[in-house]
């Protein structure tokens, strides 16, 4: 039992992790075939993972419906969404437009429910940014002052009207135009900092991967041991 639960997953992880890492640097046909086959497997496993995820979500929300904690009614909406979504998906065979060119029920749901709902959620951000800028962005320190200055500079430089106003005021009296200054900031110090972060994150990911492959990091097996 210990072999199946602990040793076998560690062996599979070590063998597959090592092979995939080596494969990246080997351009041989055999190496290509291996990664092709592995990608195929991964997609099949991911499809099963979706099913597991669905079962898990249902278990959580069935529990909520039984216990009826505050907000349990939202679980009803979740079930309605899953059932109607899956049913219309099956009826429409996953297509939004039928062979005759008419919109299917699945297409109708996508265009008239998912589209506006997701759009609405995202656009709320705009309202809160203005509200936060009006109430919370007080300059209380040097760092906040720098942040505010950069924000103002970028808004002027990145928004067409800002560029136009800046050039109308300063014209050609300055050696560089504002958008050129901001492009330089984006392409030189900001990019250098971005690359530094990216390299740091990548090195961290490599270190974590090596720990997982070597069996030192075992959280993925359930967090014990």
């Amino acid at each position: 039992m210990v072999f199946a639960k602990k040793t076998l997953p560690l062996i599979v992880c070590f063998v597959m992790g090592t092979l995939v890492a080596i494969q990246y640097y080997v351009p041989h046909r055999l190496s290509q075939s291996f990664i092709e086959e592995l990608s195929h497997w991964e997609i099949i496993i991911a499809a099963f993972a979706f099913f597991l995820g669905l079962v898990s979500v249902m278990q959580v929300h069935i529990g909520k419906l039984r216990r009826r904690p505050p907000g349990w009614g939202f679980s009803l909406f979740l079930f309605a969404g899953i059932i109607i979504g899956v049913a219309t998906g099956f009826i429409s065979r996953g297509k939004q437009i039928s062979e005759t060119g008419a919109m299917t029920p699945f297409g109708w749901m996508y265009n008239n429910m998912l589209n506006p709902l997701q759009g609405t959620m995202f656009c709320l951000l705009g309202f809160y940014i203005v509200s936060a800028a009006y109430r919370a962005f007080k300059v209380r320190s040097k760092e906040a002052a720098v942040l505010l200055m950069v924000a103002v500079l970028f808004i002027f430089a990145r928004v067409p009207l800002g560029q136009y106003l800046w050039e109308s005021v300063w014209g050609s009296t300055l050696p560089w135009q504002l958008h050129q200054i901001v492009e330089w900031i984006m392409n030189t110090p900001a990019k250098a900092a971005g690359r530094g972060i990216l390299i740091g994150v990548s090195l961290g990911a490599v270190a974590t991967s090596v720990k997982i492959i070597a069996g030192i990091e075992r959280q993925y097996m359930g967090g014990k041991d």
Partner: protein
């Protein structure tokens, strides 16, 4: 005066929300044609690559976004697809975000109809498959193992547009238009950079600083959000939704500037007012 300033400091947030609605909606309904749009080098980096491809070259576009980021990415996706069809390129469409499948299909169908392109002969939409890293790795080795059928259920290998095509390694150019993860970094790391395929990108405004390190080495160009899309629309000579949204972007940002100024000026003025 002091009471007025205090009232201004504690203004109901619903008034601010109403201001946002006015500033965004009015210019969309009645375009003001505000000046100032300049085409940046990073947007031109994508345009130039597509522009110089000979007719019947193969280009792939991955539409990796969902309806939440539609205002930022849909216009650029439409502009890039229009450009590809205008240049008579063969287009392979796909996506890594399941909720974006409908949008990608819509964009390809609309752009193809405008240019009289036929499905299966001039373009194909492969659709979505789970496990993005496996999909990226797979399309760069053997596309038919990942997408044996297209979105419509046709045998992908049998489509004329796919004749002689085995993997993304044969692409003349690849464009990734993404709203997050999985997106541009994954395509760079697992596909385009490894197999030395020329690639361009498009992203949301908030992602742009994060993707800049890849430009101009790993990606030839980057189209940032609606402003980038408007620049692309102006390059292909077909102003559309992004161009129409520029006024709203300008005024919306100036409202934020005004809010920032008020936030910092009101306490100072209150202190000096009897």
């Amino acid at each position: 005066m002091k009471r007025f300033l205090e009232g201004l400091a504690n203004v109901d947030r619903r008034i601010l929300f109403l201001l946002v609605v006015v500033v965004i909606l009015v210019p969309i309904m009645h375009p003001l044609a505000l000046p100032g749009l300049k085409v940046t080098d990073s947007v031109r980096g994508v345009y130039d690559q597509i522009e110089k491809l000979p007719p019947r070259s193969t280009i792939a576009i991955s539409f990796d976004f969902d309806p939440a980021s539609k205002p930022e990415l849909y216009p650029m996706a439409l502009a890039v697809t229009r450009h590809a069809f205008k240049k008579d390129l063969k287009v392979i469409g796909m996506n890594l975000w399941i909720t974006g499948t409908g949008l990608a299909d819509e964009i390809l169908t609309a752009a193809a109809a405008e240019h009289g392109k036929r499905y299966g002969e001039d373009y194909v939409f492969l659709g979505w498959q789970p496990s993005p890293i496996a999909v990226i790795t797979g399309v760069f080795t053997d596309i038919y193992k990942i997408f044996s059928k297209d979105q419509k259920g046709n045998d992908t290998r049998a489509l004329p547009v796919m004749k002689g095509f085995r993997s993304f390694q044969q692409l003349d150019y690849f464009v990734e238009l993404g709203a997050g993860s999985p997106g541009l970094p994954h395509w760079v790391q697992y596909g385009a950079d490894k197999f030395k395929i020329k690639m361009g990108g498009g992203c949301t405004a908030v992602s742009e600083p994060g993707y800049r390190p890849y430009y101009p080495v790993q990606i030839t160009g980057l189209i940032p959000a609606m402003k980038g899309a408007a620049e692309y629309e102006s390059l292909i000579g077909k102003p559309d939704k992004a161009y129409a949204g520029l006024d709203a972007i300008s005024l919306g940002h100036f409202l934020i500037l005004l809010a920032l100024a008020m936030c910092n000026l009101i306490p100072v003025l209150t202190r000096f007012t009897k």
